[in-house]
């Protein structure tokens, strides 16, 4: 099975004042709401829907949506809303919901119902991402006591899977959810909805994806060099535990900036890339909470970083402040930019280096205008993806829906036949 490429963007509010970072404001949890114009938010949502519909036509394998709360960085409080809009207006790509923050749904059968709804509407194109949610989202915005978050997640996860599989109504007596009659309508089209679980290095999450053979996701936005220590440590851990080393069960996010020439890429994307990083002014107090990460995992993460430091802290700080040049962002791995030829090679190297079979490309970032994001989508879909389909082709992919695989392949065949005919 071929390597997969999914279209994604953080739905970032594009109209923050330029001096937002200098004002010392937080971009998460308590960002002043007076900075937001809801009419413009509506326009933004429409733009993302149009771009993802285009991605569906342009050969992407999946359309990825995510969940965040109380932040202009990603204004998608319910990924299922955006996913539902795409489910009923696209034909080929998987709907990659990456994912629902399970601890935040009460009762979590809501997730089972809504994902089943989308699986029905799409004829079986749903990928179910289950996430813990960042500390900002799950423990600050939504108030979960940190030591309960994982428990709540696992209880919900088991309930949802059982709700999908059940042949008849069952009673569920959980610690957090008690339901006398679990019997969700609709039920999914797929016999087994593929499940993905992203993480940021917690050993407990690694154990989970190994034990359940889920697809794991390292969803950072700082690229190869920054992620390499953790991703390498992950694969070492999988190997040590005798887990499945199939690259199709590893997803990674990467900012992509494609243009006709390298110079054009710089001219078109540089300010948007800077906006993406500069405006995400996380406050340290909200990025961690006691008990969110176990002591065991904290120690393991510190060890990975010590053994293989990846990016220097001062580079990370400069990237965050928008102080890198366009090509330094590219060089350090934050973005992959340039002509389709250049992007192809860099994505190939990245996929091999990190052993990734599912690339979640961020084809829109920051305050990028729609026209450029559309061009990015077109070039990546038509000039990059077809040239990378040989990657990991010898490995089975159980983590992408069969229906979307078939439809995307059929669309690619038709596109290449049309190209030949045109020549």
């Amino acid at each position: 099975m071929k390597m997969k490429f999914h279209w994604f963007a953080e739905a970032t509010y594009p109209h923050l004042p330029d001096d937002f970072p200098e004002r010392g404001l937080s971009s998460w949890v308590n960002t002043p709401r007076e900075l937001m114009d809801p009419v413009k938010v509506g326009e933004m949502y429409h733009m993302f829907i149009r771009l993802m519909q285009q991605a569906d036509r342009d050969g992407f394998d999946g359309l990825a949506v995510n969940e965040h709360h109380q932040t202009p960085f990603a204004m998608t409080p319910s990924p299922n809303l955006l996913a539902a809009a795409l489910a009923s207006t696209t034909q080929n790509a998987a709907i990659l919901i990456i994912g629902d923050s399970l601890a935040l749904y009460n009762p979590p059968t809501r997730v089972a119902e809504e994902m089943a709804y989308m699986d029905c509407v799409t004829g079986g194109r749903v990928i179910a991402g289950f996430v813990f949610g960042t500390p900002m989202d799950s423990v600050f915005a939504y108030g979960n006591p940190p030591p309960e978050l994982r428990d709540r997640f696992h209880e919900a996860r088991k309930l949802i899977q059982r709700a999908w599989d059940a042949k008849e109504p069952f009673a569920f007596n959980g610690r957090y959810t008690k339901l006398r009659y679990v019997n969700t309508w609709p039920k999914p089209v797929q016999e087994k909805i593929p499940i993905w679980v992203p993480g940021s290095g917690s050993l407990e999450t690694w154990d989970l994806v190994i034990d359940e053979n889920y697809c794991y996701g390292h969803l950072s936005f700082s690229g190869l060099h920054s992620a390499k220590p953790m991703v390498d440590a992950y694969w070492d851990y999988v190997e040590k535990r005798g887990g499945d080393m199939n690259p199709h069960r590893m997803a990674f996010t990467q900012l992509i900036c494609c243009a006709a020439t390298d110079a054009e890429a710089e001219a078109k994307y540089y300010e948007a890339v800077r906006y993406f990083y500069r405006m995400n002014t996380l406050q340290p107090a909200f990025t961690m909470a006691p008990g969110y990460t176990s002591i065991r995992s904290q120690q393991a993460m510190a060890e990975h970083i010590k053994n293989s430091p990846g990016l220097k802290p001062e580079d990370r700080a400069r990237a965050q402040k928008g102080e890198m040049s366009f090509w330094e962002y590219d060089d350090k791995g934050y973005i992959i930019a340039g002509t389709p030829q250049r992007v192809r090679q860099r994505v190939r190297d990245l996929a091999k280096d990190l052993r990734i079979g599912q690339l979640i490309g961020c084809l829109h970032m920051g305050d990028l205008v729609e026209e450029v994001a559309g061009e990015n989508t077109y070039l990546f879909g038509n000039e990059v993806i077809p040239h990378l389909r040989d990657l990991w082709a010898d490995q089975p992919d159980y983590w992408t829906p069969k229906v979307s695989q078939q439809r995307v392949a059929a669309r690619a065949q038709a596109a290449s036949a049309a190209k030949v005919a045109a020549q």
Binding site: G143, P145, A285, A289, P290, G291, I295, Q298
Partner: protein
């Protein structure tokens, strides 16, 4: 005060004990057990002091068996009963104040008098408590102390020999605290106050920015007959910042 360990059911906890006289159970605050603190030693001159560490703090185990506040209170009741002392006086500081009040409600036969110092547990919409977990060190010190330089006088139960770093010790402690304080340190004590029969003294440090003295009003509203006392030049840790005033107030009240 002498450190030791005690096992009660699923819980194995550290306990500091010392002194002789009418017994006092001391329940520590949200950040940590104070170890063999000077104020405990002074109380031990006239009392037998039993000061357990809450499960989930330091090296005290059993946190995973605490699904909710009731589990903790029933465990504490069993711990106290295991000493076979009959009714004892209970002092609860900060988060330990919430636990002490709940214990007095759940086990009136085991609690004679109650002293609550800067207690969590109540909530006033018109005076929302600050989120203690997001305050950065400087802001936290300012909220917690009348004179932040006094923080250096605070004793601790941190034991480097246990193998944890100071940072890990703090994370362990605050993880447990968050179970009962996150996102709002109110687990329903207000509606249960009517069952609190033990004579109660509520102490606030005048400069406490975490649990400000205005909370006296909430205690008085829920607990007619409560005695309240403000200690000058003290914040959230009056037993350290104003040791004399604190010990005197406790001894006067307990008699």
């Amino acid at each position: 005060m002498i450190p030791g360990r005690k096992t009660v059911g699923d819980f194995d906890v550290r306990v500091w004990t010392g002194g002789a006289g009418s017994p006092i159970l001391y329940l520590h605050g949200w950040e940590q057990h104070p170890g063999s603190a000077p104020f405990l030693q002074r109380l031990a001159r006239t009392h037998e002091v039993i000061a357990p560490e809450c499960p989930g703090y330091g090296t005290s185990t059993g946190f995973e068996h605490l699904h909710d506040l009731q589990d903790l209170i029933l465990y504490t009741r069993e711990l106290l009963a295991s000493y076979g002392k009959g009714p004892v006086d209970v002092i609860g500081h900060s988060l330990g104040g919430m636990f002490a009040a709940e214990l007095a409600i759940a086990a009136p036969h085991l609690v004679r008098r109650l002293v609550l110092a800067a207690p969590y547990g109540l909530w006033m919409d018109e005076h929302p408590l600050p989120d203690a977990f997001v305050l950065m060190p400087d802001a936290l010190a300012k909220a917690q102390w009348h004179d932040p330089s006094k923080a250096a006088d605070e004793t601790s139960a941190f034991d480097p020999a246990a193998g944890d770093s100071a940072a890990t010790y703090r994370t362990i402690n605050l993880t447990t605290a968050s179970k009962f304080m996150w996102p709002i340190p109110d687990r329903g004590l207000t509606r249960r106050l009517r069952y609190l029969a033990a004579p109660t003294l509520v102490i606030h440090g005048e400069s406490d920015g975490l649990v400000p003295p205005v909370y006296e009003e909430a205690w008085a509203a829920g607990l007619p007959g409560v005695k309240t006392l403000r200690i000058a030049d003290a914040g959230h840790v009056p037993m350290v910042e104003a040791e004399d005033a604190f010990v005197t107030a406790v001894n006067d009240f307990l008699g």
